[in-house]
Amino acid sequence: MIAHLPALQVIIPLVSAPLCALLPAGRAVWLAAMTASWLAFLIAVLLLDRVLAHGPISYLMGGWPVPWGIEYRVDALNAFVLLIVAAIGAVVITFGREIVERRIRLPESKQSWFYTAYMLCLTGLLGITITGDAFNVFVFLEISSLSSYVLISIGRDRRALTAAYQYLIMGTIGATFILIGIGLLYVMTGTLNMGDLAARIPAVADTRTIHAAFAFLTVGVCLKLALFPLHLWLPNAYAYAPSVVTAFLAATATKVAIYVLLRFFFTIFGATFSFETMELDRVLLPLALVGIFSASVVAIFQDNVKRMLAYSSVAQIGYMILGISLVSVTGLTASISHLFNHALMKGALFMALGCVSFRVGAAKLERMAGVGRTMPWTMGAFVIGGLSLIGVPLTAGFVSKWYLVVGALEKGWWPVAVLVLITSLLAVIYVWRVVEVAYFKPAPAGQVVREAPLALLIPTWALALANLYFGLDTSLNVGVARRAAEMLLGVGP
């Protein structure tokens, strides 16, 4: 059983998806999805534990040896990402039931399909992360993308349909580019296994085909992870999707895309090829900086709080890319730990926002007047998430920002360090706009708002408290991230 954990990690959510479609709407289907999600989380924990204790795990699907079969390969990096995805998947589905039953545009008879799509999306994200086969990455990418288009389109607002369509177009272009890149690599090396690719690429690295493959992959993955200026699909998709979907996608989908980027650049092409031959950092660094800055500024002017947080996500993705473009252990540690920390903070924020719109009916800023008093617990969680987003000490957000600034200073990149700090101040502005309205503006007369139900509050607070916990005890989010960073750069143990 233990030996088959890597396979179970993907198979359990995959099998639960059709099962959900068969179950009637209501408690039963929710329980099934939740059980599968929490099992996936448990497996992710076990995997991480084993990887940290015994080193990378290689699992051959169906027992087929490597060039023919598909290998699942778990090391410190993807075990960590698996943990993020599975944890958020489990917490969000626990949170999701009330939202699904009361707040999305689906008749009751079709609500089970929501869970099917959700589990498929989770399967896809876990699969991308765990597989050691480049083509398999594409397959799972399509599974997760197609199901996320569905999830976004069932938002209450009719604009969710256009948002999903926009994402569909952009996502398909991205996936196609990735497929072209993988195809070119296969032509040149005759293998799809990541380990084999890494071994064979250096011999043919100096060809135009490999360079083209590299370019296609870079653009394709950057589309999926919404790097500025390829982020245009993201704000609408996040703003109009149901809050449970936004919380899930914001905390996991872009993170997995960044994982793919790390895997291709560092493991398959190798840091030397990516950053010395192709000089990728020269492209990533300016895009990251412009993205952080412009998205933070745009976020300040949003009246829809969900949209504001979506732009903030674009900025936060910029931080992760910035850490990668430093090409140092500290920079990568910052990026990888920010994958985790950002998942915690955005998960908490979107879920708290979900609680607000559950009671108030919208995520508009002006509708939030006075909710600080009427929904104290919800807004408490929101404030914690917001502080973490700003990067206030004692929150998880501070940890990654700390390493990012240290990384920039190590390189002697003063202006970058200063810009990171300045953009934190922009985050203060957009978070505080919400806090002011919620706490100091009186609620409109006659509006009766109660605190969100416990079923929503408990998962929200679980993530909010995690923000505080991992701001204090950094052995997981920094310790594992550092190991993964050292592994990617080939230094350390």
């Binding site: 700003i390 700390w402 600034v405 700090l421 203060v428 706490y439 100091f440 204090l472």
Partner: protein
């Protein structure tokens, strides 16, 4: 109980009391009782550390690991002990005063007020006992965030604007400059611990020292060094107890305390002296002292005048640090204590006047001294202490600072200190003088009629302000104890 546990207890008493206060939202007597009880407990706990620290002990305790070799650490040394004593001593008095003031004025959201207040005190204790720069930064930010709801308390557009300015300047400078300075320090020195004699000597040289010093000095926005002082006058929209304890004692003193700590334990005064990097700071501090005094002269609003006076008096502490001599550092540290006692008295009086008469402007105080003799008497004592006249505490800090300027041969600075004392006389004493000597407007005159029926503020307001005024007097006679406590920071 050993002293390590006591240090942790000092941090957790106010923090836990915040929970109990929140839980007693609908029982005002319990809520305020908890505040008083916690403040007295804290007072006992902090002062129980004093004998050990005087005997040379430096209890330290690691709370949590943040990064390898970089824990959140509390450790007690003389400077921090002094600051903690000030905060712990004034919190009970302020709590008593708050009860009188908040009830007397029927303020809204009192539970939020007391909860935030308790968290702010916990943060202050954390700053005072911070064992490294990271811990200092953590509690520094916690103090900013926990005092924001107190500044914006009234929720009026004016209070909201002030809150934004407050948060903007304090968070802006601390993240923009201070965090950068701390990361830079950690990177070049390899440690963030406070160590006697500093950690930077030999690690950095040339103009970089002055740049780093500038990042620290302007990054610590709470020290209100010009041009980052605007938040302090703006914060005066807060209820008076907040202005009294937080914006005359805890918050601003946390700022100058951090300045002192950085000067003494990060740079080291010998290192600053050898490189001469703090010369520019002397002039900025002197400019702050004088300009703020001049602005104070022009303010008719009593609290605004006191706020600018605070900006000016904080400049003294920074000036003492920038002198980088033992006398300067001791004088500056003593100024933290003396000014705290004097200024809290003045703010208590301003609040008592507001509670009794709802008057806020200096020009409205004519003749009030005779109906409120205790309040105006205490104001006079506090003012004289700030000016630095014996037999009041303030005279000692001024004395050591003057001695410090003489030691360093900074005659221009000595002149600045003397001129500033004169300015203090000009803007503070008229307040008391108007109350006592200007005859009250005659009956039949609208301003005169308004005075009929005015009596002293509630007892809960008057008692604390008499006690702090008496404290100013006591500090004059017990300054040698304070000197004995502070002496080790200058000798290493």
């Amino acid at each position: 109980m050993n002293s390590e546990a006591t240090v942790v207890l000092a941090l957790f008493i106010p923090l836990l009391s915040a929970f109990f206060i929140a839980a007693n939202d609908d029982r005002p007597d319990w809520r305020e009782g908890t505040t008083l009880l916690a403040s007295l407990l804290l007072l006992g706990v902090v002062f129980s550390l004093l004998p050990a620290v005087l005997a040379g002990a430096r209890p330290a305790v690691d709370l949590l690991p943040f990064a390898p070799g970089l824990p959140l650490r509390l450790s007690v040394e003389p400077l921090g002990m002094t600051f903690a004593c000030v905060a712990a001593l004034l919190w009970p008095l302020n709590s008593l005063y708050s009860i009188g003031y908040m009830r007397g004025n029927g303020e809204q959201h009192q539970t939020r007020f007391y909860v935030c207040f308790a968290i702010a005190i916990a943060s202050t204790i954390g700053i005072a006992f911070a064992g490294n720069l990271l811990t200092l930064f953590v509690f520094y930010e916690a103090l900013t965030l926990s005092t924001y709801p107190l500044v914006a308390h009234k929720g009026t557009p004016e209070a909201m604007r002030a809150g934004r300015l407050y948060l903007g300047i304090l968070i802006g400078t601390s993240i923009g400059f201070l965090l950068l300075a701390i990361v830079w320090t950690g990177w070049i020195a390899g440690t963030l611990d406070f160590a006697p004699g500093g950690i930077l000597a030999g690690k950095v040289e040339g103009p970089a020292v002055a740049v780093l010093l500038a990042l620290y000095m302007f990054g610590i926005g709470k020290a209100a060094l010009m041009p980052f002082h605007r938040w302090l006058p703006a914060a005066m929209v807060a209820p008076t107890p907040v202005s009294a304890l937080l914006h005359a004692v805890a918050v601003v003193k946390a700022g100058v305390f951090a300045v002192m700590k950085v000067t003494v334990y990060v740079f080291g005064i010998d290192f600053l002296n050898a490189t001469g990097s703090s010369q520019w700071l002397l002039w900025v501090a002197a400019l702050t002292v004088l300009l703020a005094s001049f602005v104070a002269l022009t303010q008719d609003n009593l609290k605004a005048r006191l706020a600018y006076s605070t900006v000016s008096q904080l400049g003294y502490v920074v000036l003492g640090a920038a002198l980088a001599t033992s006398m300067g550092v001791i004088g500056g540290s003593m100024q933290i204590v003396m000014h705290a006692m004097g200024k809290i008295t003045l703010f208590f009086c301003a609040g008592a006047i507001y509670t009794a008469t709802h008057k806020t402007e200096v020009s409205q105080l004519d003749g009030l001294g005779r109906v409120m003799p205790f309040t105006f008497g205490a104001f006079l004592i506090g003012a004289l202490s700030i000016v630095g006249l014996p037999p009041l505490g303030g005279s000692w800090s001024k004395w050591y600072l003057l001695a410090g300027t003489a030691d360093a041969g900074q005659w221009a600075m000595m002149a600045v200190l003397l001129v500033s004392s004169l300015l203090n006389v000009v803007y503070l004493l008229p307040v008391a003088a108007r109350g006592f000597f200007v005859p009250r407007p005659p009956d039949g005159h609208p301003a005169g009629d308004a005075l009929t029926g005015i009596r002293e503020a509630p007892l809960a307001c008057v008692v604390p302000l008499c006690l702090t005024a008496f404290g100013c007097l006591l500090l004059f006679f017990f300054a040698d104890g304070l000197y004995a406590l502070l002496a080790p920071i200058a000798a290493h």
